[in-house]
Symmetry: D3
Subunit: 136 residues, 6 copies
């Protein structure tokens, strides 16, 4: 159970600030489904609006990376942070954006490999090579 109330559609409909975000979210995603994250954030309409607008700018609107790659990066962060909810929601989103079983299997192997080498490097405290010390 959440530590906050999850807003029903009726409650959202009755609050203009929340309704505006839910409406935009549904129109942008071309779907009536509003997942629990937004229903929890609705307790703070200002935060709801700010978070949705950031997410839309970064994950929905056209950017330098394609939509599936964006989801894979999101999934990688979420898995590493052990965020159960985010793993489920973004794996589902990646599938909707065309992730194949082979791509998901490859993704899983990379996440596991990175976690392993991260742990080895950290445990051995390997110093960064000078060759990598070049800023952008």
């Amino acid at each position: 159970m959440a530590t906050v109330r999850l807003w029903s559609d009726d409650e959202a409909e009755a609050d203009p600030a929340v309704k505006a975000v839910f409406d935009d979210l549904r129109a942008t995603r071309k779907s009536d489904f509003v997942n629990n994250f937004w229903r929890g954030l609705a307790n703070d309409p200002v935060a709801l609006k700010r978070t949705w607008e950031s997410l839309k700018a970064i994950m929905v609107q056209p950017g330098a990376l394609d939509p599936l790659t964006c989801e894979l990066i999101y999934m990688a962060v979420s898995a590493t942070n052990t965020c159960t909810y985010c793993i489920h929601s973004h794996t589902a989103a990646a599938r909707q954006k065309g992730m194949t079983d082979a791509q998901y299997a490859h993704f899983l192997q990379i996440v596991g490999m990175a976690a392993q080498t991260n742990a080895l490097v950290t445990a051995m405290q390997i110093p960064v090579d000078e060759a990598f010390q070049v800023s952008g």
Copy 2:
């Protein structure tokens, strides 16, 4: 300073098991440069071979995801695990594989956004929507 000895080229040359991995690594990457991670792992030649072969299979040989996407996933895990070495080495690798400044900027925004929503979801203990509870 590392907690293990970083093998010099001369030392690696003198140990057939280590030499074999360093040789394959150089041939595979078409570069003479062997970064510190492998020089630290060389203290355990069996682990060195196993790790390199796994990495080669997952990150170098053709797979379902293209090489740059692989690096972006690796970078996302490494940043979330705060692995300084891995962040530097894989950001450098991504640039070598063609990552543009615009793609890197987009990547950073996704990593930040995912970290933020991960934290919000976790702090509010949002339950997973039934719609996401569908196995592959």
Copy 3:
């Protein structure tokens, strides 16, 4: 299900060392409720006593920070460590100590913002400004 046995009140009553801690815990908190964490720790009465005495000294007895601020810091650590149990127990404790909905909403925004900037800073490996390099 826990990996350890959770002690019932009857079991605790029958072990003088455990009983002493449960009695002090109930008297200190002015409540009969003993939550599962202590019932799990009871398997190691010495650790139970040490942990409760440390917690009492840090979180219950008057200190430089007021009780609600203490809980907010505890919640921030627990959310970042994705400790489901601790998030629930300390959010409940904060509400008991007077946390308003507005304060909780503000807390959530700070936790999300900090997670986001932490991730950005780490991914970009921003060096610490000299101005911050001043010890206490």
Copy 4:
């Protein structure tokens, strides 16, 4: 060394979008000092603006929690995420906002205590008490 270029004041001055954020940041903080985080984010002026506006809304403008409490929460998240930069910058900010040595000592004890009980609870997989399963 960062993986991105840190913008100098001259460079920032020459880019209207970056200049606008740096100007607002200096005016809001009543200080000429712009720390490295913003100089790194300047490579993506849109992200720079969005991040600064979110931070200003959450950490600078009056909210339900007082400025020092906000910093203590930020510090708790940053310490738990082992974000060296953020620990330094927000500990410095907390001192500027009046954090005393006694308050900092108390903060450190809470962060340590929370990390310890988080680890114990997680290792024992303690189930959440029904009494805590009450949503907001």
Copy 5:
């Protein structure tokens, strides 16, 4: 619910590559029980084989550390990564390998103590003593 299909025994039996790993796993462990981790990994038979062979080499075959110590290290990493599944499976494995209640209680205290001092050290950004800066 998992994000991948968990293979039944019948499905595994019908796929030679998966069957080979399940057979070796059962023979090596002298038990018919194949836990869910391997049933999920079975979706990628190449990864299944690589992961099982690494695990067998590191955790099953005789090495410099005895089997119970190996499990305790695995449990410590899993608890710190808040991996619920791994905490359960490796605590069970440790008990099978002879872990006593007293050893488990001691383990828990070390995990809690390490988490606490890790957090304190990180929050205070304690510099590494020169005496520790000696590589292997």
Copy 6:
């Protein structure tokens, strides 16, 4: 640089509460060396005493696990928490307690393997087998 002052021997000598802990630490360890962690904690003599007494009880006094195993568990937690200071200090302590190069190499492989399977399990959200759901 630390966010707190590191106490010199002269300062510690002049404060009876700090001196008492430093004296006991030196006598217990049979060494004059007091590492930086304690010099930072000295700013809060009550916390210094509590932390040292807990550490002594858990890590120094005879317990169910032998001293080297204790250090290996501490190292595993510290590596997973990416605590640079703790990795260095406890790897040094493990060597002092007799850790061989072969044991350290084995330790590193377990830490890497656990991190990898933790990440795979979490990314796939593998449900805990009923067989593991047996409390202590």
